[in-house]
Amino acid sequence: MLDILMPLLLAAALVLAVVGAFRRIAMWRRGRPSPVNIMKGLTSIPKRYLVDLHHVVERDKYIAHTHVATAGGFVASMVLAIIVHGFDLASGILGWLLLLFTAIMFVGSVLVYRRRINPPARLSKGPFQRLPKSLIAFSVGMFLTTLPAVGLMPENAGSWVFALVLVVLVAWGVSELVFGMTWGGPMKHAFAGALHLGFHRRQERFGGGRSTGLKPLNLDDESSPLGVIKPEEFTWNQRLGFDACVQCGRCEAVCPAFAAGQPLNPKKLIQDMVASMTTGTDANYAGSNYPGQTGTHEVGPGGVLVAREGKALVDADTLWSCTTCRACVEECPMMIEHVDAVVDIRRHLTLEHGETPGKGADVLNNLIATDNPGGFSPNSRMNWATDLELPMLKDRDHAEVLLWLGDGVFDMRNQRTLRALIKVLRAGNVDFAVLGNDERDSGDLARRLGDEATFQSLAKRNIATLAKHSFDCIVTCDPHSFHVLKNEYGDFGGHYEVYHHSGYLNLLIDSGRVSLNKADVGTVTYHDPCYLGRYNGEYDAPRSVLKALGLEVNEMARSGYRSRCCGGGGGAPVVDVPGKQRIPDMRMEDIRETGAEIVAVGCPQCTAMLEGVVEPRPDVKDIAELVADALSDTPAPRSHADNKEPVEVVA
């Protein structure tokens, strides 16, 4: 009986899976177009799965091993089962191999089961609790079914009851694992996830690459939508990406806004996007909610994700809570791009409805009218530096370094950092110049607040200004300007060699252009700015500068690519969505845990956020300040007459 039922069962499961696959693909394709290379995409999947995806999964050893055993065991068993039972080719080694792989899969399944006994809060329950049982059912059922085929059990052993039990087990298994994959069960992540690897919207991310700049809106085409409010307005591969979410909650565990009790949970956000494509309600969601939110939510009238009045699937506050720190993206094994989705919807709210909350509207108005978020006169950009006699690029034919000062020029705290940086550059005889009043805000803030129009206007004008001058590279002490100049101006024709000041200082130290004494400042820890670390992969330069100062960094538990955001990115301080605690306070707690007396930073935002934490707390010092204080007195030879040191005047 089994040798008739098994092939039927397998064939039926495969047919259903194919039907499901077409339906699912059709569902994704309802999104906006995004060109991909189908063949190249499909063939790149295995390598990306084994290298890029596993690189992320591997961070959790337990689940990595479990996943290899279960997924590897299943794929091999399924292929072998089709040969052995489907085509009745049990001869030789194949049957034995099938036994081996079902056994491996069984071990993996038991590990999955154990994980699910008392699952951590970040994991979703619901159908995912059923999954280990289905895995066990399949592996056990297939194992036993194969025994007679290799002659370990007589054919027709046991009663028909036993045979029926086997059929039921295998049927349960294949329905979850084969067509469940394309009909929306928990195994959907395998199908959608694999395709997402191939057709990812940011192909540059694979093979060790990086792609963190936001995608520009086409503002010249009036018919192209300004951001996203309906699920169909995402590109089809973004929709595919959402569907790949396995609800592992790694993103939730690292999200600073979630930890602060603000109404954001990146996992729920992605699941809401999935719900918007399928059922339209979050009633079936079985993971942690947005903090402070209860009840079920549905897609609003007209299919909108966010309602302007009343409630829909997602509250606007959820989207405005995000600091765009990319911690979730960095952790996501399915390579989902949460920040793109958040900014896409913010774009709609800002550009179509003018609903940037908090101080957002003021800041954007200032950026439009004065090119800086504080509404200061653009002609007062250099007021802070009247005594420094900074060389202006417009008076020069060429400069080695264009020093991009950023909006920190209006902030007294950041002016100290800038002064320190300039002191170091002068000590190293760096031929630098500034744009002075011709510099504008980089557009970072406007862009994260969803105001793509203002961003593009600032970007294009800055690019035009830069095009008028000649310089070798740009150095800035603001990682946000750094990121935008380096990664986002390219779409508008601005390509530059850009350094964060930590990277440039590191070069100066390495090449011996500045010599340093040992810094005597006590114990130090270092806070990685999101826009320097995760956005640009620069983790080493600041640390090696600190090392050159003779400082040993007491690393925080969350440092490097796992650094926790200071709460200052993405316009979060501007919109200021209330939560249970403040993100910088949590970060200061991380810092305190290291016992450090000083936290070294490399970003004006981080400085402001961390210094906003009430004393007593460790001191906040920019890397430039630490270096400037440790400059050794041996005067370096002067080469440029215009790098005037202030002359002491004796009255």
Partner: protein, 270 residues
Amino acid sequence: MKPRESDKKSASLSISVLVSTGRHPITGRPGRADQDSRAVELAMNLQGGSVSLLHAGQPTEECKEALRGYLGMGIDRISLIEQSEHADITEVLTKTLKSSNPSLVLAGTQAEQGEGSGLLPFLLAESLGWSLVSGLVSIESVENGQATILQALPRGQRRRLKVRLPAIATVDESAERARQSAFGPARRGTIETISEASHIDETLASFEIKKARVRPKRLKIVKSSSARDRFKAAAAKSGGGGGQVLSDVSAQEGAEAIFKLLQEENVLKL
């Protein structure tokens, strides 16, 4: 997602808002004029009212860019009455308003550039024969051809007035702030240009327009130990001094007193 005040009843009330091109106080860039955009906000918040925006001036790119700021508030179209430089727009606005016949005309108190005398609403009221209210901060209701409004007085005081419509009201800078202007609707909205003959104001043409300079002001130091007194002195708007308070007089007597005063002050020349 701010709930807008939307329960104010006013069936089929047509409102015209006169909007000018603004000038940013620091950079001088064109944009919405602050008071005018507050006027648009007031108009948009009146439920059931139909709002139309009117601008008379030179149809330059700068002007259109500024007008788009109003469209960005969610307005579909603005009528731009083409006028040449130095035109006196009183006449053409009177003509336009007469033919469109709105129940209420709103405008900012004073333009941010050009002559900026703040006289236009008064001249329009005179030539249309409508009543004029200055310092409007909110419209509470409109019923039976009468609007109940709040008027701003110095030091945050408010006066409730009933005004017979049609009327012209100038909006105070303490009225509710205008909503954010959004790129999408600003780009989509229509600026409808209407050509009209210009009436050149020769006097205006002979003016030399310079940037205003802030003059230093002598502070009146109030030496009082009471914070309230010091605050009052600091926040006081200069009063007119003289004058007389009439109370318990008939309407006739009141009107006569006002008429007499206006004649004395050379406001009314008969």
